[in-house]
Every structure is written in C-alpha cells, then in structure tokens.
Symmetry: C2
Subunit: 249 residues, 2 copies
C-alpha cells in the first residue's frame, strides 16, 4: 500500500516558467518531481492546489503525490530540501495524509497577496516581488471599488482568454486593500479563482486608485462580462499564493 504525501511549499517564482511542467523551461513541478525521484527512487507525479504562472511566488503552495516505500515525514521534508538546495524552492512541511486527500479538489480556500510598490524610484530590494506603479494610488478608492467584487459573480471580465474553467461563476470571499507606507497590499480569498483573475482584478483596481473611475463603476465592469471592460493584467511579480485551506486543517 502506498502513502499519499502532502507538501507545503515556498518558492520564488523568478527563474521558473511557472508551476506546471513544460516542454521548454524550468518548472517548479519538474524541480520537485526530480528531487523526489533522486531521493526516493520513485517517480510519482505531483498534483497541485494552484498552478501558478511564470514569475508568481508561493509562501504556502500545496501539492500531493504517492510513494510506495514508507518514510518518516522528517526524512521526506529534509531530503527534498537537500535536493532542492539553491533552487529557490523550500519544502515547509511534508505530511502523510488520507489517500482521499487531493491537493486540488479538496481545497476549500486559496489565499493570495498582491503587492504594489507605489513610489517613484524603482524597486531594488523588492525587485521581482512587487509591481512598480509610479503614479500615486488612492487606496481608499481601491478599497471601495474592490467591495463591488465580493460575493458570487460571473467574473468573465477578469478571466484570461486561455482560462479552461467550465464557467466563470466564482465566489470572492475577501478582497482587502491596505497600504503600508509605499506598499499597497491586496489580499484575495476564494474557494477557487479563474486563470489570471487576481492579476486582472489588481490591474483594474489600479485604474480606480488613479481616479480613472468612481468606485461604483466596478459594478459596471463586472456586469459587462467582457475582458475588454476591465484593466490590464498586473505583472506576475507582485503575486504570492499565501495559503491553501482544507477541511481537514
């Protein structure tokens, strides 16, 4: 009987073509799968909670895989970290879980943070970790606009053309906007998101922060159900998958 393992993973998205294995490009998935194979001598495939795009970071990504041979949780964590050394990926925890656990399907909440560096000078210390927006943003206007997106809606206006979801109905539980000095932090929570949904919401919130529209106009963008009605896709740099929640937590 095999063991199902749950990994909690931190990574710096720079230098990766994203989570998912691709023909060309170095993916987070391939790096971890190779580490598993080198350590355990088995080559299982990883199933992930959130397939992050190139340049998107994670502080608490979750994935699962199966191994035939038995190992202690400490050995799995430490051996994977040893094989991943210097690659910008850290296994925060490895835990044996119920064989019915599915990192993607069992997830009941995904939590993202998006950070905007709102100042004139470009980022040096936070390069690759923030979206640099020079024009001063009014976080109160952004907050008021964000409130119109809460709840269950058709998020077609915020959905990437490549999105493969069957429908665009999603329930957004939180979309908080807070300013800490030069940094505007946007905190988003939902059971699941459409492809690029967070980055498209952030790119649209920026327009409200610049005063291009009154906050109530966000309801019209949502109702338009057309990608062209919303703002640009914010760059991946500022986005971090903070956490994935499960009923078993």
């Amino acid at each position: 009987v095999s063991t199902r393992w749950k990994l909690t993973i931190e990574y710096d998205g720079r230098g990766f073509c994203g989570w998912q294995r691709q023909e060309n490009g170095h993916s987070v998935q391939a790096a971890i799968e190779e580490a598993i194979e080198r350590f355990a001598g088995e080559a299982p495939r990883l199933t992930v909670a959130g397939r992050t795009d190139a340049g998107v970071h994670a502080a608490g990504q979750v994935a699962h895989f199966d191994l035939n041979r038995a190992w202690s949780a400490k050995t799995v964590r430490d051996a994977l970290n040893a094989h991943l050394r210097g690659q910008g990926i850290a296994i925060l925890a490895a835990a044996p879980v119920d064989p019915a656990f599915d990192a993607r399907r069992s997830a009941i909440r995904r939590v993202y943070e998006y950070r905007i560096l709102n100042r004139i000078a470009p980022p040096a210390l936070e390069r690759g970790r923030v979206w640099h927006v020079i024009r001063p943003l009014d976080q109160e206007a952004m907050r008021a606009a964000a409130a119109h997106l809460l709840g269950c809606h058709d998020f077609t206006s915020f959905r990437a053309a490549e999105c493969q979801a069957k429908d665009a109905l999603r329930t957004l539980d939180r979309l908080d906007v807070a300013r800490y000095g030069e940094v505007i932090s946007i905190h988003a929570e939902a059971r699941s998101f459409l492809h690029h949904q967070v980055r498209n919401m952030v790119g649209t919130l920026r327009l409200f922060g610049e005063g291009k529209h009154p906050p109530s106009f966000m309801a019209k963008i949502l109702a338009a159900r057309a990608r062209a009605a919303a703002g640009q896709t914010a760059p991946p740099d500022g986005l971090t998958l903070l956490r994935v929640d499960y009923p078993s937590d």
Copy 2:
C-alpha cells in the same frame, strides 16, 4: 560653483562585492559613479555614510558627490535610476545640500536591521535576505543578553581584525530583538559602528538564543575585550542598513 548632492540609496547587496570600489568585483559605488558619469559627463567620487560589505543590503544608504553643472533634483534622481536599471540599485532621493554636508562625517546615527529566519526549512522567498538558523532561538534570552551591550563600551570583542578605527569605544543606543513568526529581527542604532560590529553582535546573540549562556554572560564577553570571547560573524545576507540620520534632517 559646484553643487553638492545627497543621494538616498536602496540596494540589494547580492551580486556586489560591497559598497566600495575594488580592483576586481562589481561594487555599488562603481555602479553609481558610472551612472553619474554617463548622465552628467562629470566623474565625481562618492563619499558614503556606511561602507557595507559584500552581500549586505541597504534601504536608506546615504552618499554625497559634487557636480559643476546645475541640474534639478528630479533630473538627477530619474536619470540615475534610468542608468542603473536592472542592477538592483535604486536612487530613492537626490537633493542639493549645503557644501559642508558630508555623508560620512555629518551622520549622527546609523540604523541597521538584521533578520534571522528561524525555522527548519531553508529560505526560498527570502533567500539572500536572511540568516537561516534551524535551532529554535529564545528571543527573550536574546533580548536580555542584548541589554548588556547598550551604552558606551569598548567593543573590541565585536570588532573585525581588519577594523581600521582608532579605538573600539562606541555608544550603542538601541539593540532590540523582536520575533515576527519565523523571523527574528534585530534592530541596532548607534552614531557609528566598528567593522562587522552588528554581524558579530548578532552571531553572539544567537548563542544566547540557543541557551548556551545565561544573559548576564554577555557582560563578560564585552569585558574580555577579545574577539575570541564572542560568537561567529553572522553572514551578510541578513543585514540591511535601514537609515542614516543627520542633524539637518
């Protein structure tokens, strides 16, 4: 008549051999001096408040230089940032100052932060920005030990062999230890520090955090006036020069 310029500078110390120009190696000083020359057509030398070592970061370094030709402050800042693009250096502010201003000699306070990532898994998101210490550290013990270093003392025990200061007498105004989850932040303030003083104090505080000595033993380490009495030099990664203060501020 020339104009003296004060620069406030942020940089990521990775990839630099430190602030100071060296025969071999890419220094922050050389990168900014080259940017000044390319933009202004003059080649002044920079004088800096704190000559940070290789791998040490800055959120508010200060340096001065002179230019014969007149420029607006905005032009100096924006032109330097354009020439420094992608190098991990940002000019936060450029300001014309009194010709008597000296970034090094006029400084009345230097403020550093040192960050320790205290967990089993290695850093991924904060790689190069923290010191990774696996063994659990007791921040209360570190705080109690740090208190023995406050005030005016001979800091020979915490001074690098290469230190060129005339004497080792320094007045430490703050040495705060705080924990934020997995991160222990050490905040140090003084008019000036000896070479490696902050990193040597942090490497020594770690021993107290591990329970190797009771906090009162810090007074004995200080009184020994011998480098061998103190702990290791903490790595540069965790150190950031946060701010330099001047009477004119």
